[in-house]
Each structure stands twice: as structure tokens, then as C-alpha cells.
């Protein structure tokens, strides 16, 4: 409750101070890349769902699928487009089983907001810009 109200205060502040939001975004972006790229193969979509995809970045999928594997996964589990790469979603499903929140992978992910690509998903999350588009 306390955390949520803190976020809503920060969100209101970010909405009323767009200039400060841009500066924060520029500050956090390199930090985010530095941490998430080597660890999770982050592609900076700006609407991070690593938590729900077994800590594997779904944007590494050549089709940028955010809701699970396509029907073209090879029988050995490799990608249909890049045959020597293990399917992102095969890895995501395997890893998500090890997580305490393993059912998060079943959540339906909304369409991406491509205008947020390349921006800090942390700042976006606080600003309410990381929820994607649609119902």
C-alpha cells in the first residue's frame, strides 16, 4: 500500500515534469543496458516483461513474440529462423519453471508501444508507459 502510493506520487511528478523524466530516462538507460543486456539478453523494448518470461528477453525472438513460442520451433528446440540458436521461448519456459512465480508466463501480454523502444523501462514503469497498448 505504502509502495503503491509512492509510485503514484512519483508518477504524478513525472507527468507534471516531462523534462525531468527525459533526464531520468537518459540517466537510467545506460545502467539498465549495462545490467540487463549481459544477464538477460535485453533488447531495450522499454516495456520490460522479463519477470513474466522466465528472465529471458522475448525480444531476442526473430518474430519478437511476447506470448509464447511460434509453431515453427524445430524438433530439437532450435529457432526456425536461426537454426543454431535455442528458441527463446524454449529457454523461457524452462527457466520459468525454476521461478517461484512460474505461472506468470501464462499472462497475456498486450501489444507493444513501439514509441517507447530504446527508453528506460524502469522510468517507463514508474511513469505508467510500460503497459503496452490495448485492452
Amino acid at each position: 500500500m505504502h509502495g503503491r502510493s509512492l509510485v503514484s506520487v512519483a508518477r504524478r511528478w513525472l507527468l507534471t515534469h516531462p523534462g525531468a523524466g527525459r533526464i531520468l530516462d537518459q540517466m537510467f538507460r545506460p545502467v539498465e543496458i549495462l545490467i540487463k543486456k549481459p544477464l538477460f539478453g535485453c533488447r531495450m523494448c522499454g516495456q520490460c516483461i522479463l519477470h513474466e518470461t522466465g528472465l529471458v528477453c522475448p525480444m531476442g525472438c526473430p518474430k519478437t513474440l511476447r506470448n509464447g513460442p511460434c509453431g515453427g520451433v524445430r524438433l530439437d528446440g532450435c529457432c526456425e529462423v536461426i537454426p543454431d540458436m535455442m528458441c527463446v521461448w524454449v529457454r523461457a519456459e524452462r527457466r520459468s519453471r525454476l521461478l517461484p512465480w512460474r505461472d506468470a508466463i501464462l499472462k497475456i501480454q498486450p501489444a507493444l508501444d513501439w514509441t517507447q523502444r530504446g527508453r528506460s523501462s524502469w522510468v517507463n514503469a514508474v511513469a505508467g508507459r510500460a503497459e503496452g497498448v490495448g485492452p
Binding site: R66, N67, P69, C70, V73, R74, L75, G77, V90, A111
Partner: protein, 349 residues
């Protein structure tokens, strides 16, 4: 809803540009409780619709609806929407494949509206094959949405809104379906992904071609455990291999396809002249074997470049009685006069 889409209902529409009435025959077939049969035919790569109508005529009296693919394997074909409208004009129930490969959310919404305007109600919402498998591997793959987001998008339109929130008047009456591949890894996740797709709005399911029957049985057992078969009818994909070459092609070149070695050996073991007969037998054997699996509502036939096999497979497997053939409707005619004058038309009506 249907009434509002029938010719003359839309205000301001030119009386000479008659829309086609969309029909609910596929949904009604699912509701009837009998085995539903659908069949995928090639849209063709010619601007002349004669070949398309000929293929549709070959199968029309043996199935409930005909699938029109969207640039299969990323190879350029006749537009699926055009093909579906032509087929609908001939009184055949179409199922239009809609994929996310070539167009973004703007194009998709306009495409879906166009489908409703042309009387094409049934949609198969797919992610789409990647462009690398097609004849333009250098092109830009779009994938703005994925198949689940596309299903949700159809739901949004059905509820009378564009994705932007703007109103659609009247809301298009669409019947979205989806597909699932029980044979591609991660196998344990496939039934859950199918459930996710149904939650996203899928109303029917057509599976990838079944050659590996044990794997399919395991998949269906899990699907029934999850109660998915009671939420949406599931049609099992079946295809007769036409030759040993075609079996090898499916095994090696179509990603996610599980063609057991024994089946390829069996096709290679017969003389080329007898290969088609062997392929028909294989399809009928598979149909017999999966017919009894709980949770199956019917079959989706995918005769790859071999539509002539469909009547024979349906007859041999005993899947159709005379009373179950697709009822003819007074639909097209006027909308496509140039098609109706072709001799092929006689076989279509």
C-alpha cells in the same frame, strides 16, 4: 449483426457495389455436434481466379469450410482476402488466414474490416511463417503483433472499438479461430499456450498436421485435462503425403513439422506410381486412429498441392454422409459476373 452487413444495409453504399452476406455456417456446424471438416486449398499465384475456383469446387461438397492461406511460407500468392471473397462469392464458406508477418496493427484492422465487408466472417489468426522461408527472404518481417495480440484485436473490433479506442459502427461480426502445433517444443507448454489463445478470444482451433499420433494423443490428453476441448472445438490437422519427396520435404523444410522416419521409409518403399495410393492410405489410417481420441471435434485437411485427394480421403474414412454436405447459398453471382461466366462456375454451383 449479420443483417447490418448484408447488401444495402450500410447507409450511403452504392447499390451497384453489393457486399456479400456473411454466413455462420462454420459456427453452426460446430454447434451441430457432428464431425466438422475443413480443408486448406492453395490461393494460387495467378490473378486468374479460375484455378482457385476449380480447387474450391473439388473439395466443396466434402467439407464445411475452406481455408484460404495468407502467403504460405512467406511466398507471394494471391491475397488471401481476395481469394476468400471469391470463394464466398461462389457460395463456399471461407476461413481466412490472417498473419502478423506482412502488416502492422493499422493494416490488420483495415484487413479485418475489409473481411467483414466482403462477407468473410471466419478468421484463422496466426503469427505467420518468417520471411526467411519464402521467396523474398530479404524483406522486412513486420510482426508488430503476435497471434494472441491479433486474437485480442479481433475481440476489440467485435466489441465496437479500434485498438485506438475509436468506435467502429457497426461492430464487425467476426469468428476468430487459431492454430496450435502439438509437435513443436516446448511440448509441455503447448496446451497451456492453447488455453492462453482461447482466453485471448479464439473460438475454434485447427492443429498442425498429425503424423506423430502418440505425441498428438499426449497433447490431447492434457488439453482435455485442462478442459480446453469444452471451450473451443478442436480440429485435428491431417494431410495425405503425395510422394516420398513430399514426405521428405515436410520433414526437412517445414519447421515444426514432425514426420516420423517410419512414414518417410514407407513412402520411399513403394513404387512412384503407387505413392499416391499409399499416401491416401496413410491419411485414412491416421484419421481412423485419431477419430476416437477424446476432445476432437473434427478434422482439418491440408492436401499440399493435392486437392483431388480430399474427396477420396473423406469417402474412404467414412467421414461424410450425403445430408452433411455444405448447403449452397445464393450468395455471389452478381458480385463476380466475370467469374460466373467461366465454365468452372458450373462445377462450383
Amino acid at each position: 449483426m449479420i443483417q447490418s452487413l448484408t447488401p444495402g444495409a450500410a447507409p450511403g453504399r452504392s447499390p451497384s457495389l453489393k457486399g456479400l452476406p456473411s454466413t455462420r455456417r462454420l459456427e453452426e456446424a460446430f454447434r451441430s455436434g457432428r464431425r466438422v471438416l475443413t480443408c486448406e486449398i492453395a490461393a494460387g499465384d495467378s490473378p486468374d481466379p479460375a484455378g482457385l475456383l476449380e480447387r474450391a469446387a473439388t473439395v466443396r461438397h466434402h467439407v464445411d469450410a475452406v481455408n484460404l492461406p495468407d502467403n504460405t511460407s512467406g511466398r507471394v500468392h494471391l491475397s488471401g482476402l481476395a481469394a476468400a471473397a471469391i470463394v464466398a462469392g461462389a457460395g463456399i464458406e471461407p476461413i481466412l488466414h490472417v498473419t502478423c508477418r506482412d502488416i502492422n496493427r493499422i493494416g490488420l484492422q483495415s484487413h479485418l474490416l475489409g473481411a467483414a465487408a466482403l462477407g468473410v466472417r471466419n478468421l484463422l489468426c496466426l503469427t505467420g511463417d518468417h520471411v526467411v522461408h519464402g521467396d523474398h527472404p530479404e524483406s522486412k518481417p513486420v510482426f508488430d503483433l503476435d497471434s494472441l495480440q491479433l486474437l485480442r484485436l479481433v475481440g476489440t473490433l467485435r466489441s465496437g472499438r479500434y485498438l485506438s479506442g475509436r468506435a467502429v459502427e457497426p461492430a464487425p461480426d467476426l469468428f476468430p479461430g487459431t492454430t496450435e502445433n502439438p509437435f513443436a517444443p516446448p511440448h509441455d507448454f503447448r496446451p497451456l499456450r492453447l488455453r492462453k489463445k482461447i482466453e485471448a478470444g479464439a473460438r475454434f482451433v485447427q492443429t498442425q498436421i498429425v503424423f506423430n499420433v502418440p505425441r498428438f494423443k499426449a497433447f490431447m490428453a492434457r488439453v482435455c485435462d485442462l478442459g480446453i476441448d469444452r471451450q473451443a472445438p478442436i480440429l485435428a490437422g491431417v494431410a495425405p503425403p503425395r510422394s516420398a519427396r513430399s514426405a521428405r520435404y515436410m520433414r526437412d523444410r517445414i519447421p515444426g513439422m514432425d514426420v516420423p522416419e517410419a512414414l518417410v521409409k514407407r513412402m520411399e518403399g513403394v513404387a512412384p506410381a503407387r505413392a499416391e495410393e499409399e499416401g491416401l492410405r496413410i491419411a485414412v489410417e491416421i484419421l481412423d486412429e485419431i477419430n476416437g481420441i477424446p476432445g476432437i471435434a473434427g478434422f482439418h485437411l491440408m492436401p499440399i498441392c493435392w486437392e483431388e485427394a480430399v474427396p477420396e480421403v473423406v469417402r474412404r474414412a467414412g467421414l461424410r454422409r450425403e445430408s452433411e454436405t455444405m448447403p449452397a447459398i445464393e450468395a455471389g453471382g452478381a458480385a463476380y459476373p466475370e467469374v460466373s461466366s467461366a465454365p468452372i462456375r458450373e462445377r462450383c454451383t
